[in-house]
């Protein structure tokens, strides 16, 4: 019996849909997202609903997730990070754009056609209390996805036990209800349920932010172990930049539905190119009194503008100290600097004129962006 093996999909998946198993992408890309938009209509009217506007939740986002990679997505509340990953698993329908999973486009698929794909990508939600059915025993919660995988009878029981042990719980927990567990244990059950269908990709929506500090570290370590054992890819959404840094290979910073910066994880913290990223980093208190006292802090003023009527040009210009007239008028292109570091800013920081000259327009640039190349602000040029 193959317990959630790393290469279990080759046999299991070809049966229902041969196409999905075949393409594992020579480029190593597990998921490609191109110009994805998710707009929510705002309705008004007494008799006939008229659409009077849209919430621009995700507005022309493109990225590629590599096999075995962890991509972190950070941003303030309302930046569209949760909408984005819910759309990736097609819990929400995109307004425009393309999502390809292992080379197969999944954007236009029906529920039925999605089934084989959904078995390869699973979601773990923020609140383990709300995402487990309180009336079902753990055994039943795990049995449903196992049945979908085609197991029956004794094998379900055996596999459930194996899953629980894999996430650090005990086999005798199978007969218990979710309320009999602590928050951290419930989150482990959520992870076990996601693993039950042997996914390649797990989308984690704030997986530790509802947990106590001492428990957060346990769950983060568990996720790292599982990734290593099962060669999983993660998309990790969180508002806590220090947790994301610990987990991710690459990090995408979102603001008002747009990508502001995408960077290898370490570089984002050492050398943020977009002013918004520095803002986020500067706002994080450091758990060390002396370093806090030594730090010059610059508090971000203002709040996120409404996504119903987002600012023209660069979306961050209303709060940005470097903003110029150009920023107010023209949406910046996503510029690719060395080491695949992308930033959408007219006046980037932490880059030399030579680096700017060597940079090029990224293919992930939103369609509405202008053709202007980045330049240093007048004052420091």
């Amino acid at each position: 019996m193959s317990a959630t093996g790393a290469d279990g999909d080759a046999t299991g998946l070809g049966v229902s849909d041969g196409a999905v198993g075949g393409h594992s992408g020579a480029s190593g890309a597990l998921m490609e997202v191109e110009h994805l938009r998710v707009l929510f209509p705002i309705k008004s009217g007494l008799v006939v609903d008229r659409t009077i506007g849209h919430v621009h939740a995700v507005d022309d986002v493109s990225f590629t997730l590599r096999e075995g990679e962890t991509l972190g997505i950070v941003g303030e509340s309302g930046c569209g990070k949760t909408t984005l990953i819910r759309t990736l698993v097609r819990l929400l329908d995109p307004t425009a754009g393309v999502i390809r999973f292992r080379g197969e486009e999944i954007t236009g698929r029906s529920r039925r056609q999605l089934q084989p794909v959904r078995r390869q990508m699973q979601m773990v939600f923020q609140d383990p209390q709300a995402s487990l059915n309180p009336r079902k025993r753990v055994g039943q919660i795990l049995a449903t996805p196992l049945k979908l995988r085609g197991l029956a009878g004794d094998r379900i029981e055996a596999e459930s036990r194996a899953l629980l042990e894999r996430v650090g719980l005990h086999a005798e927990h199978l007969g218990r209800f979710p309320h009999e567990f602590s928050g951290g244990q419930r989150q482990r059950i959520g992870v076990a349920r996601a693993l039950a269908v042997e996914p390649r990709l797990i989308l984690l929506d704030e997986p530790v932010s509802a947990l106590d500090v001492s428990i957060q570290a346990q769950v983060i370590n568990l996720l790292e172990d599982l990734q290593e054992e099962l060669h999983l890819s993660y998309v990790f959404v969180a508002h806590d930049l220090s947790v994301v840094r610990h987990e991710s290979d690459r990090i995408a910073v979102m603001y008002l539905g747009k990508l502001m910066e995408v960077s290898p994880s370490e570089e984002l913290y050492d050398k943020p190119i977009h002013p918004y990223t520095s803002f986020l980093l500067m706002a994080i208190p450091i758990p060390d009194p002396a370093e806090n006292r030594a730090r010059t802090r610059q508090v971000v003023t203002g709040e996120v503008p409404s996504p119903i009527d987002p600012p023209a040009g660069c979306r961050f210009h209303t709060r940005c100290p470097r903003a110029s007239d150009l920023c107010r008028e023209v949406e910046p292109q996503l510029t690719e600097y060395a080491r695949g570091h992308l930033a959408a800013c007219h006046h980037p920081q932490n880059v030399s004129p030579a680096e700017i000259a060597a940079a090029r327009r990224s293919e992930a640039t939103p369609l509405s962006a202008g053709a202007e190349t980045p330049r240093l602000p007048v004052s420091s040029a």
Binding site: A217, Q218, S242, I284, A290, R297
Partner: protein, 348 residues
């Protein structure tokens, strides 16, 4: 300085529940001086919020048993009558809660809610004067177009703005003590930084004492002067900010310090997590409450250690651990940083 502003001595709070007696707070003592920020740190169920709420008289009830002494400027609070407390709450002591949505009344305008609070505590103030003062307060906490915003309802405000309104209300009667219970937990980091700045400024300007209840050690390091670490209803360690971060004496404190992810450190391969889960307060473990999770526990830990000063030259640095200071200093280093060793590494 003469007498401390707020004095809490041997506070004990227990609740009779259907399943048995819950000793939520088991002997907490601390003082808060003017202009000082005292942080109470702990996980859910550690008793940190109950301690703070008891100071406000918010945990009274038929099934609650409260013992100890709490004095504010010489006035005893635990034995104060309900009507005396009404005057104190919102007047001398104000509170800011975690969730600003559920602590504002959704069907009243923001302005009316602040005016009501001012006039309740200062009946001689006219409505117009109270309105003027409300506008000033909203401006002080950084709400733009404050005069217009007086007519807004809570749902028209973002989370950070609502928390600012809560702070404005708390300030309305110039409190001597402000209790902030997880004031930034529900907010984004950028807004958290703004609110912490607000609290810092408030302390400078009004010299109010602040009790900050939080689970976030980074916030503590940012703003607190003294720290109290609670675990399962007991204080396990208390001291100044620097004592606690640079010479922590209790293994639970090491665990907390070690298990937080930090942006200013190389990301180590693994986070040293605290094993196990916090105990149920219905059936707390015998002896030291942290014993079942502590890799350094030994026979003596079956008895409850006193909360004593054990470090030389630090009379106000108290902890509850049987290990000697030398032992502690040698075992608390994990990979060159303070943390809790993994149990397998310690088994002797």
């Amino acid at each position: 300085m003469s007498e401390p502003l707020l004095h809490v001595e041997d506070l004990r709070v227990s609740f009779a529940t259907e399943d048995g007696l819950v000793q939520a707070v088991d002997g907490v003592s601390f003082e808060v001086d003017r202009g000082e920020v005292v942080a109470i740190v702990g996980e859910s169920g550690s008793g940190k919020s109950v301690s703070a709420m008891t100071v406000m008289g918010l945990t009274r009830g038929p099934n609650a048993r409260i013992d100890g002494v709490v004095t504010l400027d010489g006035q005893e609070l635990l034995k104060a009558s309900e009507s005396q407390l009404q005057r104190i709450r919102g007047g001398s002591i104000a509170m800011v809660f975690q969730d600003p949505m559920s602590s504002l009344n959704p069907v009243y305008r923001i302005g009316d809610q602040i005016i009501e609070q001012i006039r309740t505590h200062q009946p001689h103030v006219s409505r117009a004067q109270a309105a003027e003062r409300s506008v000033e307060l909203l401006e002080r906490v950084g709400i733009p177009r404050a005069r217009e915003r007086m007519r807004s309802y809570p749902h028209e405000f973002s989370g950070g703005m609502r928390q600012r309104v809560m702070i404005a209300m708390a300030l309305s009667c110039s409190p001597k003590v402000l209790i902030a219970d997880e004031p930034t937990t529900a907010l984004d980091v950028t807004i958290q930084a703004q609110i912490l700045d607000e609290l810092r400024e408030l302390r400078e300007q009004t010299r109010a004492g602040i009790i900050l209840v939080t689970h976030d050690l980074a916030v503590v390091a940012d703003i607190a002067d003294r720290v109290i670490v609670m675990y399962a209803g007991r204080v396990v360690e208390q001291g100044t900010l620097d004592e606690l971060f640079y010479d922590p004496q209790h293994p639970y404190t090491w665990g907390l310090l070690g298990s937080i992810t930090r942006i200013d450190r190389d990301r180590s391969k693994r986070l040293p997590a605290i094993p196990g889960v916090p105990p149920s307060l219905l059936h707390p473990p015998a002896g030291c409450h942290f014993r079942p999770r502590c890799p350094h526990a030994f026979g003596q830990c079956m008895q409850v250690p006193e909360l004593n000063a054990r470090v030389a030259d630090a009379p106000a640095h108290l902890d509850r651990c049987w290990l000697t200071v030398e032992q502690k200093r040698s075992v608390r280093q994990v990979d060159g940083q303070i943390g809790l060793a993994s149990p397998s590494a310690v088994v002797s």
